[in-house]
Symmetry: C2
Subunit: 504 residues, 2 copies
């Protein structure tokens, strides 16, 4: 390999002068073996990485490109180098190297995140956790499992099949458990089983100073000190690199049944969802799909359902209890004008239904071949959901965008897949303006700009709008745990002082 200088491997000046960098640390930066450098050459970096991981580091353009793009609309931001660690000790050595060389370090899971969460905004080293994908230890009696971060949720559930247990969090994509932890993922079953914050018992994390810590032991609950586990869940790799995750598991339900129900309008569907939740029925999934999305799903998955708003339900429990839950839900749906409550009882029918649901991204894209989707992610208190949806539908008509809706309606979280040509600057700008109005609408209703996708690079401006000076507290935590700012820099918030509550 040529001893070329790597222009983007040094982070831009803006990051270096941010408050996350302490002046007294500057003298310790940018040295190799004690010799100060300007921009370390790629050769030096590769040689240092080879000493840690052998040939499991690559600067090949194809590998870099694979780690810079996502399924979202964001422009690709490839790293300079991709490294594939296999052990926590290797991760520690890589973190130490990046700190020494002042290189950005971006942890990377399955690449399914939607807000550019793992984009290498400042170049540097991408830490692909894909080879750390083992299930390390299962405790069936305690219903927990310890895994490496690179295992995907489908791989995990395949390995759990014979234990009588399963891991319920289902964000649609076959994401890695590490990525799901880092973005505080949730998805269709969160209404029953909670989000990642509720299903991670403990973590092993490599801190920016190279030490590996364990955030908690395996007890089901603890009041021992600060909740470090939940601090790293959702931190998007900006506070440490997650190297092990202990997850709660749940008993595979004795019986499962699913159903679909058509509604005359969105409000009737939302009122049904509110009624079901308030009735105390522990519905396992309750998904809203609007008429436009149903058209896309008919196109993509040949569902053959009427193109009006629908709820998809799933119920888990004993046979008798599943029947009781479903009858309660059906009665509430009927009270709200729901029609044609159709059951999917066999595993094949259920699989077809939820496979179609998991593929709503492609169903949406089927409505406009060649488009990309800007996927919105607001979440509001459920009492405000109908208002938020109706106002948003009117806004869509006004601004002339096509955007099918799919929602985790039991949690008040919904996505619009705003179909755009990302090469068309006017359309992109129009979509961004629409999303900003949506976020402001959600926040005005006491909601959040992101229910489950995280802030990444896409929603940084909205965070201060949502949480005001609380973002300063986050900055203080970042400065304490990553004083050199090497961990996934440029994500969640900008390092400069906050624009308190100002417009994004």
């Amino acid at each position: 390999m040529m001893a070329q200088a790597v222009s983007n491997i040094r982070r831009p000046r803006a990051r270096k002068t941010g408050p996350l960098r302490r002046e007294e640390d500057m003298s310790a930066q940018a040295r190799i073996d004690g010799v100060p450098i300007g921009a370390p050459s790629l050769d030096i970096i590769m040689a240092r990485l080879a000493a840690i991981v052998g040939d499991r580091a690559s600067a090949a353009p194809g590998v870099r490109a694979d780690h810079g793009r996502s399924e979202a609309y964001h422009a690709a931001r490839p790293p300079d180098v991709v490294v594939f660690p296999e052990t926590t000790a290797e991760v520690q050595a890589i973190v130490n190297l990046c700190r020494e060389l002042d290189l950005p370090l971006v942890p990377f899971g399955a690449g399914t995140s939607l807000e550019g969460n793992a984009a290498a905004l400042h170049g540097g080293v991408c830490l692909d956790m894909g080879r750390m994908n083992q299930m390390l230890e299962i405790h069936a009696e305690d219903m927990d499992v310890r895994v490496q971060p690179g295992i995907t949720r489908k791989q995990l559930n395949a390995q759990l099949r014979d234990t009588g247990l399963f891991f319920p969090i289902d964000p649609g994509a076959d994401a890695s458990i590490g990525g799901m932890t880092s973005t505080r993922a949730s998805g269709t079953m969160a209404v029953r089983y909670g989000t990642m914050k509720d299903n991670v018992l403990a973590l092993e994390v490599v801190l920016a100073d190279g030490r590996a810590i364990r955030t908690a032991r395996r007890a089901k609950k603890s009041a021992a000190g600060y909740d470090l586990t939940r601090l790293f869940v959702g931190a998007e790799g900006t506070l440490g690199v997650i190297t092990e995750i202990t997850l709660k598991l749940h008993p595979q339900p004795e019986a499962i049944s699913s159903a679909v129900c058509a509604f005359p309008d969105l409000k009737a569907a939302v009122d049904t969802a509110i009624g079901v939740i308030q009735s105390g029925v522990p519905v396992a999934r309750i998904e809203l799909l609007d008429a436009v999305m149903m058209r896309g799903m008919n196109l993509h998955s040949r569902l053959g359902l009427p193109e009006v708003p629908h709820l998809f339900f799933e119920f888990h429990g004993s046979s008798a209890y599943v029947t009781e839950q479903a009858e309660t839900a059906q009665a509430i749906a009927a009270d709200n004008g729901g029609q044609g409550f159709q059951w999917a009882v066999t595993p094949e029918e259920r699989t077809r239904l939820w496979h179609a649901r998991d593929n709503t991204l492609y169903a949406g894209l089927a409505l406009r071949p060649g488009a990309k989707a800007m996927i919105t992610d607001v979440c509001v208190p459920i009492s405000r959901l109908a208002d938020c949806l109706v106002d948003t539908a009117a806004d869509l008509v006004e601004c002339g965008l096509v955007a099918p809706v799919v929602g985790h309606v039991g949690d008040g979280n919904f996505h619009l897949l705003v179909l755009i040509d990302p090469q068309d600057p006017e359309e992109l700008a129009r979509a961004k303006a629409f999303n900003e109005r949506l976020v402001r609408r959600a926040i005005a209703l006491d909601g959040t700009c992101t229910g489950e996708h995280g802030i990444g690079m896409g929603k940084m401006d909205f965070l201060a709008l949502e949480l005001g000076e609380a973002v300063d507290a986050m900055r203080l935590l970042k400065g304490a745990l990553d004083p050199h700012g090497i961990l996934n820099p440029g994500k969640i918030f900008k390092p400069h002082p906050p624009t308190q509550g100002s417009a994004p």
Copy 2:
């Protein structure tokens, strides 16, 4: 009031030189109106407090004493002054005053904590939140409520009675919601409804710099930045002062039934609990009481039950589902030798049963009138629980202590009420040594030294034993959010560098 100097109002030298204090801040300390002082006189402090809260501040010995003692065995540690704020703005002004005068500030709820969590170890100002006890806003459709921290759980549930909703976390004592939040409390219903970390949606917190932040909005879930909510839950007032709490509520169950069942030994009872949890029955409570505790309960509550290990059950749900759950549990109990499954179906019977359970502290003390209880709090993975209990029972016999057991067995959390004469140094030392062996046993089984009481002043030495270098990460967070170390100093961990994994 005389212009007396207050000897203990300045914190001891050891705290001032700890790493939580930054040298560059020293010059800003200990000044009033720009004039440096040695130890501010009580008169000056009272005058400054009066300017904020009028006559709602007291240095009367009785008031101080009331805020220094607890139900636990720890020696009383009264504050110098007790102040009773009524608004967030007053709390902000008090925090600013304490920072200016370098005074410790200790938030105080109902005084029911068990590890000296609100003891004024270094004197200073006790912030009694009892006058901030309002329910501010209820959203029945969203099943959430915003309250002030001083409201107790019983006050809250009394106000919720007509809404069809309730707040399930029940630590036994009528604790304040702020205190329960700060200690990450849980109790008998955590097995079904989770702990405080699972039931707090958002907080308003006054930071050490005097700013009030809101940690989250009211959406049921969010992936917007670091999980500040859960950072303050369980921080025991060391990172900020909680001034508002938004809680999740739950539907009042349509039907409730309770039952008691006797077992031949502890292991049979624990195996029943494991079986019930694994069966997927969402048991609302499942409490273990050993033979010694049953004797105490018969003495104190005249339960008239056989003095052998028992499980107390409660089931919530629809009538049909409650019956199904109870039948499943009864069958599992019978498989494990459980006898005399007795139902408490009427509200009166249930109340009598759970009132007796809530009063196990007094039941334990009834076994040795005049004694105090050192209440242990380990929590282990449920598969290790029988081993931990059996070994602990043998240890008790060996060291000659009397200690009835009550356990949240579905979570692997159990308490021994070690009955001691706190005036007898030998007995106190013997009890402390027993507790240390218990904690080491629990940690060796991958458990925690505290399931729900917190670290406070009583378990600081165990925290490093349990979490090793993770405690350093906690110290970094404390330093970032409370650089002057004014908030509940001397709790959770000692400010000096950790003794990594060393013996307590």
